[in-house]
């Protein structure tokens, strides 16, 4: 039952990405060059709904419907977070593809995204292989290992 809702949640997310046209690298690049600021509305709409639910759900519900507890995403303020974000941005500006649209875009028949996906997988491997360190294992998300 839990996995069914994971799938449904992903599908809502993917439908939203397709509807917002964020699955098109050209739209992302046009936003980054200030030709059309629409992606700010995508981000804003998503954040408002998420903030509301992240705030209210743990206060109104004892626990999630199909799991024992609510998770958290405590991000850390350090060089990795900011340096990684800077590198991520350089790549995002080069290709107009970020992880969600890279995956969802396949559903709209955008097959060249497979090239971007291969690049993302390779980048994630290099990060883990040579730049993972031990900090990753002791990170705050360790508590979040939900099966």
């Amino acid at each position: 039952m839990r996995m069914l809702f994971v799938l449904l949640s992903g599908a809502l997310f993917g439908f939203g990405l397709a509807l917002s046209t964020m699955v098109r690298p050209e739209v992302v690049l046009s936003f980054l060059r200030w030709h059309d600021m629409g992606l700010l509305l995508v981000l804003g709409g998503a954040v408002v709904v998420t903030a509301l639910v992240y705030f209210l759900a743990p206060r109104l519900m004892q626990r999630p419907l199909f799991a024992p507890s609510f998770g958290v995403h405590p991000s850390e303020l350090d060089r990795r977070t900011i340096g990684g974000a800077a590198i991520f941005g350089i790549g995002w500006g080069l290709c107009g593809v970020c992880p969600g649209p890279a995956i969802a875009g396949l559903g709209t028949g955008n097959w060249p995204l497979l090239i971007a996906l291969a690049g993302i997988f390779a980048g994630a491997w290099v990060q883990g292989r040579w730049f993972g360190g031990l900090a990753g294992g002791a990170g705050p998300q360790a508590a979040q290992g939900v099966r």
Binding site: R2, M3, V6, L8, S9, F13, G14, G16, A18, S20, V23, P25, L29, H35, M37, G38, L39, L43, G45, A46, V49, A51, L52, V53, Y54, P64, A67, F70, H73, P74, S75, G84, A85, I87, F88, G89, I90, G91, W92, L94, C95, G96, V97, C98, P99, A102, I103, G107, N110, G119, I120, F121, A122, G123, A124, Q127, G137, G139, A142, V146
Partner: protein
């Protein structure tokens, strides 16, 4: 003013954003999980690599649902096309997709979040480090997107 900022209109952007938020919210309310995307690119390596980094509990323990979540993303976008939405094939050159993708994968995993993890989930839980990460990648992406145009890219 509105038309110069949003020449293609605002409705589909807003509706899409609200649906994305609904997806992240549904995931949280039903499973308690935080629906960032980029971790799947590390956790999936745990099926193939025995290295300690990829065998961390937080990756091995979450790799199953993350793949299902990724499958949902594709299914949702496919549903949009089946419902009459336009299919689309990008014309961004392959080298931009490959090099940009590599930096996206490396940077997102180093930063422990991307547009969804820091942008939606991090901002949605009012995390200051995520806000700084978002501002950082917006600035570098805007510079990079103009730079690639200047050197003859798409």
């Amino acid at each position: 003013m509105i038309e110069s900022l949003f020449p293609l209109g605002i409705a589909h952007y807003l509706a899409g954003g609200l649906l994305i938020g609904a997806g992240v919210s549904l995931l949280f309310v039903t499973t308690g999980l935080i629906g960032g995307i980029s971790t799947v690119f590390s956790s999936t390596w745990s099926y193939l690599s025995r290295r300690p980094f990829f065998q961390q509990e937080r990756l091995v323990g979450s790799r199953g649902w993350r793949l299902v979540y990724a499958a949902g993303l594709i299914a949702g976008a496919l549903a949009f096309v089946l419902a009459g939405g336009p299919a689309f094939v990008t014309e961004v050159p392959w080298w931009q997709l490959a090099l940009g993708g590599f930096l996206v994968g490396f940077g997102a995993r180093l930063s422990n979040g991307c547009t969804s993890g820091h942008g939606i989930c991090g901002l949605g839980s009012l995390q200051v480090p995520s806000l700084l990460a978002v501002l950082t990648f917006l600035v570098t992406a805007m510079i990079s997107a103009r730079f690639v145009l200047a050197i003859g890219g798409a």
